[in-house]
Structure formats: C-alpha cells, structure tokens
C-alpha cells in the first residue's frame, strides 16, 4: 500500500506496516486456497505465497495516483495497492460485489480506484499496455509512474521485447518488475532461456538500467523500486528490476509441484519473505510476540472479511449482458 507520511521508509514503523501487508496477503492467499478446496472458488487460481515482498515493497514506493499492471498471479498486487479483502475475495467467488462484478475472476483482478490497471492472463500482454499508461502520463505531463509486473517466463515472449524497446525509445516513465520465481509453470526457467538472468541480462538489449535484487526482502525491493520510480518520475526513462523470489506453492491450484529438486522448497521456505522481515524487525528490537499478536489480528480481520464476502449475494444474471460496450450494454446490431 502507499506508505503513509508518518512512516519513514526503512524505519521500524514502516517495516511493521509492510510486514502487516505481507501477512494480510498471505492470509488472503491461504483463505483463497481453502475456498478453492471447498469448491467455492472455481476455475483456476494462482497464488503468490512467497512472493509478497515484491508487491508490498514496490507498492510502498508508489504514489496513490501511479499505475500498476499485473499478471494472472496478481492477488498480491491488487491487495498491496489497497483493494479490500472482501471485494477481492468476492471476485474470486464470482460475486456481483466482487472487484470486477464476478466477471473478471482470480486472473483479472482490477481496481481502477487503486490505480490497478488490471491483471492480464495472456503472458506478456500487460507489458505493451503498461507502455501506454506511461505514455499517457508523459503526454498529460502528470509525472505518474507505471509499474508492470511479469514472471520470468514472460521474458521469452514477443510482447516483452516490443514493450521494453518502445519504453526505451520513447523514454517512458515505466518500471518493469520481473518476479523471477525460477519456473514457468512446471518448467525450470533455466531450461528455456540462454542467459542466467531472464530479465536483467536482457536489459542491455534495450539500453535499459536494471537491477538484480533479492525479491524476498521487502526492504531491498523497496529501495530498488524507489530508485527506479524516482528515475521514471524525473523523466529519466524506464528501468527493469529482476526480483529473485519463489512461489512456495504450486503454479496453480492443480499443481503438486513435483518437478522441484529435493531441498529447493525447504531452502526457500527458510527465506520466506515474512521470516526475512521478522528477522529484520527482531534486529530492530521488535518482539516476536508483538508480531504474533499482529498476525493474529490480521488473520482474524482477513477471516472476517472472507466470511463476509462468502455471504454476499451471487451475481445478477443480467450482469452477463452489461459492459461489452461503453453504452453499458452488449447490443452489436439494430
């Protein structure tokens, strides 16, 4: 979420707030999974458990009027921007009061009110669109910045190339953030890419500034994001950030993640972004028990919100026929 004025980036208060946001996302994701198993969340859903620090660290570096675009793995981003748990979960449940009226679903969480320009489920598709939002800010001279998230696998698709090139040529105020979680679905990214760092190693091809960072450390993410966002805001053009992270669950609900080498999951569990933040807070003298209390509070909040969303009514069938065109309807002929 946009950091409040009182919180000085890097301060203990600031980090506690970020920790809380990450915990909130984690609780949301766990609830989503549980509802999936209960058959209440349908279709498919891609959790960001383990990748919370990227969303939270970047969001805290943004202004409220900045723009964000994400992928089908986007719950963390919409929540980090400030969307409510109720409306987000209601969307996964296909309810009329969900963020997108039940018409988008888990893969398309969108919240205009939070500058969240959408979650896109065609790999790479959000990247050219992000260029457009950034171009618009430049044209309107608003100094808004656009951040586009993507996965490591997305760096192999044509849209990535075209978007990064255009951003560079037009010096657009956009920051591309690659969440490198080592896998494109079930395939290790190293097996489908000829360079070590899928995004970072390609930045020179676009003459673009780039950083390779620890994506599980919310502080490191925030610092790098702040640098890139400041640069964009100052009119110095786009940058790229490759955040090394890991999804601690399967690719999507159906995936038991059997393709992982032994020990890999455990090693990353030890680097869980929540643990990393806790360790930092401990070092600043925050008691673990205090954080446990915070956890309980957040968990209870999220759980209340989720239970509430479950009680919300189903979509009105008439909603199927609205919003195809700007007149609000779907008529394509007289």
């Amino acid at each position: 979420m946009v950091a409040s004025e009182s919180e000085q980036p890097g301060s203990t208060d600031w980090l506690v707030a970020r920790y809380g946001e990450m915990r909130r996302i984690r609780a949301f994701e766990e609830a989503a999974y549980a509802l999936f198993l209960r058959g209440l969340v349908k279709g498919t859903t891609h959790l960001a458990i383990g990748q919370e620090a990227v969303a939270v660290g970047v969001s805290a570096a943004l202004r409220a009027d900045d723009y964000v675009l994400a992928t089908y793995r986007g719950h963390h981003h919409v929540l980090a921007r400030g969307a409510s748990v109720e409306a987000s979960m209601a969307e996964l449940l296909g309810r009329g009061d969900g963020l997108c009226g039940g018409k988008g679903g888990s893969m398309h969480l969108t919240s205009a009110a939070h500058g969240m320009l959408g979650s896109y489920a065609i790999v790479g598709a959000q990247l050219p669109i992000a260029c457009g939002a950034a171009w618009s800010a430049k044209l309107r001279k608003t100094d808004q910045v656009t951040v586009a998230f993507m996965g490591d696998g997305a760096t192999n698709i044509g849209a990535f190339h075209e978007a990064l090139n255009l951003a560079a040529v037009w010096r657009l105020p956009v920051v591309f953030v690659c969440e490198n979680n080592l896998y494109m679905e079930y395939t290790p990214i190293a097996s489908v890419i000829p360079v070590e760092h899928p995004a970072h190693d390609r930045a020179p091809a676009y003459g673009m500034t780039s950083e390779l960072i620890d994506g599980n450390d919310v502080v490191a993410v925030n610092e790098a994001a702040s640098r890139a966002i400041d640069r964009a805001r100052a009119g110095s053009g786009p940058s790229l950030i490759e955040a090394l992270t890991y999804r601690l669950t399967g690719h999507s609900r159906a995936d038991p993640a059997k393709y992982r080498p032994a020990g890999e999951l455990e090693a990353w569990q030890a680097r869980d972004p929540l643990l990393v933040a806790r360790r930092r807070l401990e070092d600043s003298g925050i008691e673990n028990s205090h954080l446990d209390g915070l956890d309980a509070e957040i968990d209870a909040d999220v759980s209340r919100a989720v239970e509430l969303a479950i009680t919300w009514p189903a979509t009105d069938l008439a909603a199927a026929w609205t919003d195809t065109y700007a007149d609000g309807a779907s008529e394509w002929r007289t």
């Binding site: 988008g104 050219p128 669109i129 618009s136």
Partner: protein, 322 residues
C-alpha cells in the same frame, strides 16, 4: 473535392483540433505522412507531441494505445496493412476488446485502430486481405469500413469520439477516389447504413470497396428494368440489421457482396439474420458474392478472378430473378 486518402487525414485533423486527448501513433506516420499518405499534414500541424512514429512493433503500438486509452487519452493507432493485425491480434481481440467487460466497466478504451484493408492492388497474399470479418467475430470491438471520402470524415469523427475500441478499415483501392469534401462538423453515426440506391427487385448489401461493385451492377441491371436497392453497411458493428431487414421485406431478395472469402465472411452473419428474421418475406435463395476460398494471388488477372466483381453480382442477381 477531396480524395478518400486525404479524407483520412482531414477526419483525424478535425478531431485533433477540437480534442487535445487525440494522439496518433504508428510506423512512418509522422514526417513521412504514412506509406499511403493518409496522415499527410498531421505532423506539420500537430507536431511530435501528438504524432508519434513507432518502431516495427505492432503489439507495442496497440498496447500503447490501450494503456493510453485507459488513462485519459484518445489514441488513434495505425496498423499499416490490415493483414498485420494478425501480428497484434492478442492485443486487439483479447485485451482491447475485453478489458471493459473483465473489469465490469471500470475501464473505458476509447481508441481507434486505423488500417489499410483490401485488395485489387496486386500486393499479394500478405498485403491484400479484407479482414473486417476477423473483427466482427470479437465481441467488444466496433468495426467501421467507409466507402467514400465523405463517410471517411464522418465516420472518423464518430470513431474517435466513440468510447469503445474501433477498428477503422480504410480501403486501399479507394484511396485515389474523389468525392465531395464534407462541411465542418460532418458526423456519420456508427451503425447507420446508407441506402445508396433504392429499388424493389432485390437488395444488394455491400461494404467499402464492394459498394462500387453493387452500384455498377445495379446500373447495369436497371437497363433491363431490374431496380436493385443498394445498402452500404458502413459498419459491421454496430450492424444496421434493421435497414437490411426492412429492405429485404420490401424486395424479397438478397444478394450480399463482400470482399472477404466466403467461409467465415461477414455476409454469412447478415445472411443468417435474414434467413431467420425475414424468412417469410424471402422469395429466393440468399446469395453471397464473396472472394474465393484462396489466399490472394499476386498476378493481376488471378487476383481479379478471385475477388468479387460487378459481373458476378449481375449474374447472381439474374440467377435469382429467373
């Protein structure tokens, strides 16, 4: 008098003068004035702040237009040849067309994609297709294809003012055609077909370059006392089905003249509407004069053999009047 080609730039310029949010992007559209000279003068009048040359990156062009449209601009993107829509079809069909719906109306996409469409110029299989039917098949898009300079200006006004993504098909074979330059403020609403000629014997439904074929056929048929009504659809979405149905109810006969191949062509959708909703009024089989089911050949005579022709329209009408 103004050419269809110049009418494109004129239509865009009129809107740009009134609305600062209108900006253009595309390959070679700036100082070069576009490979078809359809943006000539815009760069000189509006400058590099509003007329943007792009790399050869069709996905980036459409994506940039979408993102700008979502955030307060009204971009007009050029995809040089409509065949190239295939290189950015995801951005058009899966993104631009669906963002409003997927977000339950949170975002509006007021953008125009202009593109040079169609054959008759010997440009071969990858630079000659009429693909307005591709766009018809994607809910969320509007589809415009003017047949004369006045409509180019009037429909461009409506397209740019429209809050939906509009695919605006400029016909390559019509660029040199001249017509009345429409007065300032000329607007042709989307979804209103034009009856180009009235008649009682048969309804000819046409679009863009096939309007001329239908008109020529009608003139020829009139010599034998056969009066054809010619409807220029102007748009596929919104489709003015009312106009078609009203005409067919009066003439009882329908021949559709379309440039795309028969299989999957837009005429099939028009035919199916009529075969359902005006069935009781039909006195003859519904006929479609469309392109043959082949990629377009390069050689002039072959291309002409494949594309619809005035002669085929005439023969077809005669075949259902016998």
């Amino acid at each position: 008098m103004i050419t269809y080609r110049a009418a494109v730039a004129e239509g865009i310029a009129r809107e740009m003068r009134m609305d600062d949010r209108v900006v253009c992007l595309g390959e070679d559209i700036g100082a070069a004035g576009g490979v078809f000279k359809t943006t000539e003068g815009l760069f000189e009048e509006f400058g590099p702040e509003r007329i943007w040359d792009t790399p050869i990156s069709e996905q980036a062009i459409i994506g940039a237009a979408i993102g700008a449209a979502m955030t307060g601009m009204r971009p007009v993107a050029e995809i040089m040849f409509s065949d190239f829509l295939a290189t950015c079809w995801d951005q058009i069909a899966n993104e631009a067309a669906k963002i409003r719906y997927m977000s339950a109306g949170q975002f509006t996409i007021p953008m125009v994609v202009r593109t040079a469409n169609g054959g008759w110029l010997g440009f071969g299989a990858q630079h000659s297709q009429a693909v307005e039917n591709w766009a018809l098949a994607v809910p969320g898009l509007k589809v415009v294809a003017p047949s004369d300079p006045s409509d180019v200006v009037g429909l461009m006004a409506s397209a740019i003012r429209c809050d939906d993504p509009v695919l605006f098909f400029e016909h390559k074979a019509l660029f040199a055609q001249k017509g009345e330059s429409p007065p300032e403020g000329h607007v042709v609403p989307l979804g209103q077909a034009a009856v180009r000629r009235t008649g009682d014997a048969v309804t000819l439904v046409a679009l863009a370059a096939t309007v001329r074929l239908a008109m020529e056929a009608a003139d020829e048929l009139a010599r034998d006392g056969i009066e054809a009504e010619v409807i220029d659809l102007r748009c596929l979405v919104p489709l003015d089905a009312t106009a078609v149905l009203a005409s067919v109810r009066a003439t009882s006969r329908l021949v559709i003249v379309e440039e795309n191949p028969y299989a999957g062509g837009w005429g099939a959708t028009v035919a199916s509407i009529v075969a359902d909703e005006a069935f009781d009024h039909l006195d003859a089989p519904i006929k479609r004069v469309a392109a043959g089911n082949v990629p377009l050949p390069f050689a002039e005579d072959l291309e002409r053999a494949v594309l619809p022709s005035t002669e085929r329209v005439i023969e077809t009408v005669r075949s259902i009047l016998r």
